[in-house]
């Protein structure tokens, strides 16, 4: 049985390498739709992929959150990215693999992945 004693070692390691979280205005928000429609379409691995990739790259200016159904159930899993310049990008039919690319291209390099956006998919 794994016990909380192992967590103490993780805590001590985290304390030594603490990342200062940036809660300033230049924050990017990633919001994953986690209503019945989103979950049924595969939102859980998409959310996990965003969280892992953001942590792996140490992106202190990115927060990952969840929301309910925004009414476009046929395009789930849906992910919205809000950037500090006030723009919103809506990614549709997301997968864990696509999430990695959105983190790398959009969140890190500032280039939205046009082919995954609702404008490209909804034709």
């Amino acid at each position: 049985m794994k016990s909380l004693a192992e967590l103490q070692a993780i805590r001590d390691k985290m304390k030594n390498s603490i990342n200062v979280r940036d809660d300033g205005e230049d924050k990017i928000r990633v919001v994953v739709g986690m209503a019945t429609c989103g979950i049924a379409a595969g939102a859980r691995p998409v959310l996990a992929s965003f969280s892992e990739e953001v942590a792996k790259r140490g992106l202190g200016n990115v927060s990952v959150a969840q929301t309910g159904c925004i009414g476009i159930c046929q395009y789930e899993p849906v992910v919205e990215v809000f950037t500090p310049d006030g723009k919103k990008t809506t990614y549709v039919k997301m997968t864990a693999e696509k999430a990695v690319r959105v983190v790398n291209d959009h969140l890190v390099n500032g280039n939205p992945v046009t082919e995954f956006t609702i404008g490209s998919v909804a034709k």
């Binding site: 909380l4 993780i10 805590r11 985290m14 986690m34 859980r44 969280s51 942590a55 309910g68 159904c69």
Partner: protein, 194 residues
Amino acid sequence: MMTELSLNVLDIAQNSIKAGASLIRISVARRPAEGRISITVEDNGCGMTPEQVARVIDPFYTTRTTRKVGLGVPFFKMSAEMTGGEFSIRSTPGEGTVLTADYCYRHIDMLPLGDMAATMVSLVSVNPEIDFIYSFACGTEQFTMDTREVKAVLEGLPVNSNEVLGFIGEMIRENQAETDRYPENLAETPLNLS
């Protein structure tokens, strides 16, 4: 329709989050002697009136205004009833809600329990301010993961940091597999846990 029960649980827990719960308890209990497994989601959120409780199992009832259907609770209910099991819901305004689905897990229409660890990690990762208790029991064996205990160890460090989420996921996976190997079960196929 969900592909595994852990996704139903993730969905049902969203209702607890929307009800403003500060503590959500998710319990899975397997009773090998009866061939039953129960899943309970319990919260201390705003609760519902008897009228709302009566309507919540209706797929064409929802509190949402963006669409006219609410399938979360009906799916959960159906997943249990199609195995010959039962579903119940109890709620008191101001106190909270308890949903229980009880399954005959040897039934051909039993869905796999699925990755409960991934469900719990998802819940904790985007709701660090809410406390979650996850317990898995099999026969007389049981283990519990309580984020209040995790937070006490962390001494203020974020519970939804990647390292801690990794620990929570591993703890649930390992301990659940070990609990499910309880001797009285050995003659029986283990539950499909992933």
